[in-house]
């Protein structure tokens, strides 16, 4: 679904991503892990075009070179993005926040797909409240709901469980699993919490200082690897 090859990225003069390779197979959930500040979020932003890359390629769907596409077009190709830190539109109502997801849909749908409300009933309840007034966890749910509105083929989730109550975290996991199974969705997940990753991801990639250090089937994620790369 997504193939990242020798990607380099800089913030000013600091080199953040180094010759990074990454593969997100279709219909699977790939989990990116790594300590704070290793560049996970930066990688997601690079895929979405929020930061410029210096070199390398990001191939989507085996044919579309994302680095040559404008930011706005990427979501139109069917990429849903749940950024770290929620990034909801604080002064738009919950419903309006969700409606922004309609912009990228190709089918011209003008109503929020009911599935979103089914998944996060609190969003329907608080439809008319402004996004910024929600509690942290509610905002996180809103951010995920908003990405689902565009019914993506590739879903990028940057620490989606952050700040969400346990039962809903589990529910999100289930939804991801269902979407993968039923709709053939591909997922790129950044997650620190091992139980969640182990339960819902198919593959993992561990990053350190802007480079992938280990990767494999989730079953291969051993304690030794964890100690080596995820401990301070």
């Amino acid at each position: 679904m997504l193939t990242v090859a020798s990607l380099n990225q800089y913030y000013g003069e600091s080199h953040t991503l180094w010759d990074l390779d990454l593969e997100v197979p279709t219909g699977q959930c790939t989990c990116v892990m790594g300590r704070n500040g290793v560049g996970k979020t930066t990688l997601m932003k690079a895929i979405m075009g929020e930061v410029a890359v210096a070199s390398g390629s990001i191939l989507y769907d085996d044919e579309v070179e994302l680095t040559r596409r404008r930011v706005e077009e990427r979501s139109r190709l069917g990429i849903g993005y749940v950024p770290q830190g929620r990034q909801i539109f604080p002064l738009l109502t919950v419903e309006e926040n969700l409606r922004t997801g309609l912009a990228a849909r190709q089918d011209g749908l003008t109503r929020i797909p009911s599935r979103v409300y089914e998944l996060f009933p609190v969003l329907e309840e608080m439809k008319h409240r402004r996004g910024g007034d929600l509690s942290g966890g509610q905002q996180q749910q809103l951010a995920i709901g908003r990405a689902l509105v565009l019914e993506p083929r590739l879903l990028i989730l940057d620490e989606p469980g952050e700040g969400i109550q346990p039962n809903i975290v589990a529910q999100i996991g289930e939804v991801i699993r269902r979407l993968i199974r039923e709709d053939g969705l591909s997922v790129l997940l950044v997650e620190q919490k091992l139980p969640f990753a182990r339960k819902y991801a198919d593959r993992f990639v561990i990053m350190d200082r802007g480079r992938p250090r280990a990767r494999g089937e989730i079953g291969e994620l051993s304690d030794a690897l964890i100690r080596e790369h995820l401990t301070v």
């Binding site: 930011v71 909801i88 539109f89």
Partner: protein, 532 residues
């Protein structure tokens, strides 16, 4: 105003003789009649006018009208009287006053104007008005009867009485009766006061005021009482009038600010060139009127879309040329757009003129709508008020009901995320800025009907506009509307007792204090969301 005796006779004559003039006249008679107009003193001219009316010459009316318009002139060399058809520029097209023969163009150097002064002008108008008392059109009769208030004298009483009896229209009759009553009041008849009591007409008030100063205590007392009643009613009217003034001023503020409520309030661009965009709208109106000479109304209507377009295009140019490079640096837009505003101002000065341009008010927007004789609403302002409300409603619709409205708010609140959601931020920027600028253009079109169309137009409104937007609460269109209207009303309520300067100061102080109470304007963004 008082009419000298020579003209009074004339008025009576008009009433009796059932003009228009019918008679036989000769070429040389005309010449001598006109020659006597070209007299040394205005008093002598009065006599000459009288002679013209007396002559019954069929051309008299044309002559009098030309005289009234300052277009009756004498060729210096030949002494020939001519009527100037168009008196702007250096050379004027003229026709012979006696024969109507086209004489081509003459230099104004060769011509001598037969001048009149204000009192003669008033007299001529009265003469022409009295004639109108006999026409079929009720509106014209009312107008004529109203003009006659305060002009009636002994010679006219009898014929007016006849007219009054024959009059079918109640309003005309009432006015004629009042006209006669004023005359009787001047004669000292106390009974006349009753007819006049309650009328809000200025002439009536004038007459009663004079009577109240009279030596006859009974008359003075009656007039005093009638005046008190009138003043009572006037006070009420005055209150309504003040409210109207306030709303009208407010609507101007709203119009000036509403475009800024989009570009500044919603997009966050501190657009110092907003005023100059209004100026472009106003100049568009002027240009339209130049393109369609003689059709100021049509030109004005066409200027609405044209003004929007011109300003919107200028807005797009500003957005593309400058503002797009300042994403994330909203304060710097202040600097750049200030530069743009200087350039636009000077551009108008150099390309068009440093002087103000004349924008004509079409007939249907001139004058006022009379609610009663003490309360009239000026039409141009009434239209502007309505226009402001329309523009506001339209804008509200766009922001609430279209995708653009949602997308622009998303883009300003979190540009990166909006783009990640597939919103074409650049296009949204352009369209929104064009919309805000276009609305500024519309404001300019409206302002061209109220104030100067000149290079400084923008500067006069920019500060007020920002004040209104912020006072209403940034980002809230309703706030802009309410803020504009209420500041307008407050200003006009204060003005009569504080004076214009102090009223303005008080309004500013009010804004400062109000913001202490509500640090985020009239309609603040509340709650967590606002703290971002």
């Amino acid at each position: 105003m008082k009419i000298p005796p020579c003209l009074r006779r004339l008025l009576a004559l008009c009433l009796l003789a059932c003009l228009p003039l019918t008679a036989q006249a000769q070429e040389d008679d005309g010449q001598s009649l006109l020659a006597s107009l070209d007299a040394a003193s205005y008093a002598q001219m009065g006599g000459a006018i009288e002679a013209i009316v007396d002559s019954g010459d069929p051309r008299s009316r044309d002559w009098l009208e030309a005289l009234l318009g300052g277009k009756l002139q004498r060729h210096k060399e030949s002494g020939r009287f001519v009527v100037v058809l168009e008196n702007r520029g250096r050379n004027w097209p003229v026709v012979d006053a006696l024969t109507g023969e086209d004489l081509g163009e003459m230099s104004r150097r060769e011509l001598d104007r037969i001048g009149i002064n204000n009192s003669l002008r008033g007299q001529l108008q009265s003469v022409l008005a009295v004639l109108d008392l006999r026409v079929d059109d009720v509106g014209a009769r009312r107008e004529a009867a109203r003009d006659l208030l305060g002009q009636v004298d002994e010679a006219m009483v009898a014929p007016l009485q006849d007219l009054l009896e024959a009059e079918g229209d109640a309003e005309v009759a009432r006015l004629l009766a009042q006209g006669l009553a004023i005359h009787r009041l001047e004669q000292g008849q106390v009974a006349a006061v009753d007819v006049l009591a309650g009328s809000l007409n200025g002439e009536v008030r004038s007459a009663l005021s004079s009577a109240a100063r009279s030596d006859d205590p009974a008359l003075a007392e009656a007039a005093e009482a009638a005046l008190a009643g009138i003043d009572q009613k006037l006070r009420l009217n005055r209150g309504l009038e003040t409210l109207y003034f306030g709303l009208s001023l407010g609507s101007v503020l709203v119009l000036a600010a509403i475009g800024l409520a989009i570009t500044f309030g919603v997009m966050g661009v501190i657009n110092m060139a907003h005023g100059e965009l209004m100026m472009l709208g106003a100049y568009t109106t002027w240009a339209m009127q130049q393109l369609l000479p003689g059709q100021p109304g049509l030109a004005l209507l066409l200027a609405i879309p044209a003004g929007f377009l011109v300003a919107a295009l200028a807005g797009i140019a500003i957005e593309r040329g400058v503002i797009q490079f300042l994403k994330g640096r909203p304060l710097e837009t202040l600097l750049a757009t200030f530069g743009v505003s200087l350039i636009l101002q000077q551009l108008v000065r150099t390309v068009i003129s440093p002087l103000n341009r004349t924008v004509v008010t079409p007939e249907w927007m001139s004058g006022s709508l009379m609610i009663n004789e003490g309360l009239s609403l000026t039409l141009n302002r009434l239209y502007v008020l309505g226009f402001a409300m329309l523009v506001f409603a339209g804008l509200m619709l766009v922001m609430r009901r279209t995708r653009l409205g949602l997308e622009v708010r998303a883009v300003t609140q979190n540009r990166a995320m909006a783009r990640a959601m597939g919103i074409r931020a650049t296009r949204v920027d352009i369209m929104t800025f064009a919309l805000g600028s276009g609305v500024a253009g519309l404001a300019g079109v409206a302002l061209s009907q109220l104030t100067n169309v000149g290079p400084n137009l923008g500067q006069n409104y920019i500060i007020d506009s920002f004040m209104v937007v912020v006072f209403g609460g940034v980002g809230n269109l309703w706030g802009t509307l309410v803020a504009g209207l209420s500041l307008g009303v407050i200003n006009q309520v204060l003005e009569p007792w504080a004076g214009a300067v102090l009223a303005k100061i008080l309004v500013l102080v009010f804004i400062i204090l109000f913001i202490q109470k509500r640090p985020r304007g009239l309609f603040p963004q509340k709650g967590r969301a606002a703290e971002g």
